[in-house]
């Protein structure tokens, strides 16, 4: 067993990235994730790695592009408005199929918004964000321990599929202190034969590009990307399920909301409602199949989605449920967080609506 440490989410993220062999970190400070850069500025050089504070998020994501294109394990982190600035570069990175890790410590929006926690960037994270047909692998931790574990996973998946991986957390997770244990990291073998490290006589030049001017070629690139995404959808769906064995109502929530909703689930169970919880860990690929399976179960009477936005993931839940069962929703926006009791208060009327009794 490793040592248990008490750490802030943002520090745990940075430490996990270093332990996962992150060789370069390029970013621009923004609340509520500036601690990541502060930690990296000290501990990356200590470990002989590269830290650079860029002049903007636009520059940071393009530094990431260059370093990833040279075959290095690299990461950037930001928060919502900064991620918006990065989306051009993220589209290029996805198009050029470069592995890298991007962290969004989500804050309330739109616009400059607020520095308080939010899950309002779900659409931006999971449905593209930038231009063109691309997907990010999106991981959503709900505790400081999961931040550490999923940071390892984000690097591994990014490299396994040569695709950018996004860790979507929120300001509360970034700022909260919890115990965390860093597991030993086993570096998978990495192929960098495609990277730009200088042309050697035994091979033609390597080049990194997302430009294929002939539509026939561009379509082939898109087909290859889509085939890769299908493979990721087949292999990498991850979720946690709690109390679904006897559940008549399934709460679906991710990240911080899943933490709060699990308390709501217990409160509802104390009241006699048979409630379960599905916590998607991969927001893309999304765990549609378990939702479909539960929707087909006669015992399950409905689903209830709770998230810190106006109702974004609820669309994916509806895709999984596909009209078989009613889907309820409760959310808060703009940096406000619900209490477990508040969720309960909003679930009970839904239960009555669908004829579910305690």
């Amino acid at each position: 067993m490793g040592e248990k440490l008490l750490m802030k989410g943002n520090y745990a993220l940075a430490e996990a990235a270093i332990r996962a062999g992150c060789e370069g970190y390029f970013a621009y400070p923004i609340t509520p994730q500036s601690e990541v850069g502060e930690y990296m500025s000290v501990h990356m050089p200590e470990n002989g790695r590269v830290f650079l504070q860029a002049e903007s998020e636009v520059a940071a994501i393009n530094m990431l592009y260059g370093a990833a294109g040279a075959g290095f394990k690299v990461m950037t982190s930001s928060s919502s408005p900064g991620i918006s600035l990065m989306t051009e570069g993220i589209s290029y990175i996805a198009g050029a199929e470069l592995p890298c890790v991007i962290v969004n410590v989500n804050r309330g929006g739109p616009g400059l918004g607020t520095i308080q926690p939010s899950q309002g960037d779900y659409f931006q994270s999971t449905k593209g964000g930038g231009h063109g047909d691309y997907r990010l692998i999106v991981l959503a931790p709900s505790s400081v321990q999961e931040i550490a574990d999923l940071t390892y996973l984000a690097f591994d998946l990014a490299w396994k599929y040569r695709n950018p991986a996004l860790i979507l957390m929120d300001g509360a997770l970034g700022q909260m202190m919890e115990k965390v244990e860093f597991k030993p990291y086993n570096e998978p073998e990495r192929d960098i034969s495609w990277a730009t490290r200088g042309k050697t006589p035994d091979r033609d030049t390597n080049f990194i590009t997302s430009l294929w001017i002939k539509p026939e070629e561009m379509e082939q690139v898109n087909l290859r990307l889509q085939a890769k995404y299908k493979e990721i959808e087949k292999n990498e769906v991850r979720y946690d399920a709690y109390n679904i064995e006897d559940a008549e109502l399934i709460i679906v929530a991710f990240g911080l909301s899943a933490r709060i909703a699990s308390k709501s689930m217990n409160l509802l169970r104390e009241k006699g409602y048979k409630v379960g919880l599905i916590k998607p860990i991969t927001l893309w690929p999304y765990p549609y199949k378990i939702l479909e399976k539960l929707a087909n179960n006669e015992r399950v009477k409905g689903f209830f989605v709770t998230e810190l936005n106006s109702g974004q993931m609820v669309e994916d839940v509806k895709l999984g449920v596909n009209g078989r069962k009613p889907v309820g929703f409760y959310g808060r926006m703009g940096g406000m967080i619900y209490s477990p009791e508040e969720i309960v208060e909003n679930i009970i009327p839904f239960c009555e609506e669908i004829g579910l009794k305690a």
């Binding site: 370069g24 860029a54 040279a70 730009t196 490290r197 200088g198 030049t205």
Partner: protein, 256 residues
């Protein structure tokens, strides 16, 4: 009948460098890109650094430079070449990293990335092709378009009240402590091409010194969008364009 040439009777005075790939370029006849590609890749071969050189292609006419230059390359988003180069150079500090950018890429959309790479003194070589117009998109006004110059978005000529003034990048980056070498050259005459090659060579050599950024601005032509013949275009550089963009060394702290 085809004339047979006896190679023993002639002295070879020119050979295409294998720093360039054996392909046809898409550049217009008379365009300066071919010349600057060639001298840059001749330098890479002469310095014997092909195996540790990484180039950045911009968005613009030279976007396909990676099909022509026989070195590993990355294509950067519009204007971001200096940021991409920074990412590579920080990871591979002993490699030679250069950007090859036009005026829209370097002096308009990518001004922040250019200025900050120079300000940090990234040990990269920036090759800036200034032809005072947007070539690839069909001859629109560039930040470098000179006053009175006609373009498809300044059809009556660049008007300072509406369009602002042209920007002189070499003069600007020479002011930054991070640059170690800044020179403006041209490629409209054979002698100037030789001078341009010397400048780019010094730029590459400067990388080994790790004393800062080397910035070489190449005043080039765009006879197609200037709506001139190549000969007229090269003459217009001398007669008009160089008055706005004087040639010369703006800074040299290389000691080379």
């Amino acid at each position: 009948m085809k004339t047979q040439i006896d190679p023993n009777k002639y002295e070879k005075v020119f050979e295409k460098t294998d720093g360039l790939k054996n392909v046809k370029t898409h550049y217009c006849p008379g365009c300066g890109h071919g010349v600057v590609h060639r001298i840059t890749m001749e330098i890479v071969k002469e310095l014997d650094i092909q195996h540790k050189t990484i180039g950045i292609a911009p968005v613009g006419c030279s976007v396909f430079a990676y099909y022509y230059m026989n070195v590993d390359m990355q294509q950067a988003a519009h204007g971001r070449a200096c940021a991409v180069a920074t990412g590579i150079k920080r990871m591979l500090p002993d490699h030679y990293v250069f950007t090859y950018q036009g005026d829209g890429d370097l002096a308009a959309i990518g001004t922040a990335e250019t200025i900050h790479a120079c300000s940090r003194g990234e040990n990269i070589t920036i090759i800036f092709i200034n032809n005072a117009i947007y070539g690839m998109t069909g001859g629109q006004m560039a930040p470098t378009t000179i006053l009175g110059q006609k373009s498809s978005t300044s059809p009556e000529g660049r008007n300072p009240q509406r369009d602002g003034m042209p920007i002189n990048m070499s003069e600007i980056v020479a002011l930054l402590p991070g640059t170690v070498y800044v020179e403006r050259v041209a490629v409209n005459k054979p002698g100037r091409v030789r001078k341009a090659k010397k400048a780019i060579l010094k730029g590459f050599k400067a990388q080994a010194l790790k004393k800062g950024t080397s910035f070489i601005e190449v005043v080039s032509n765009c006879n197609t969008n200037w709506k001139m013949t190549p000969v007229e275009a090269n003459k217009w550089i001398d007669d008009v364009l160089l008055k706005q963009y004087p040639l010369g060394v703006f800074k040299d702290e290389t000691g080379l």
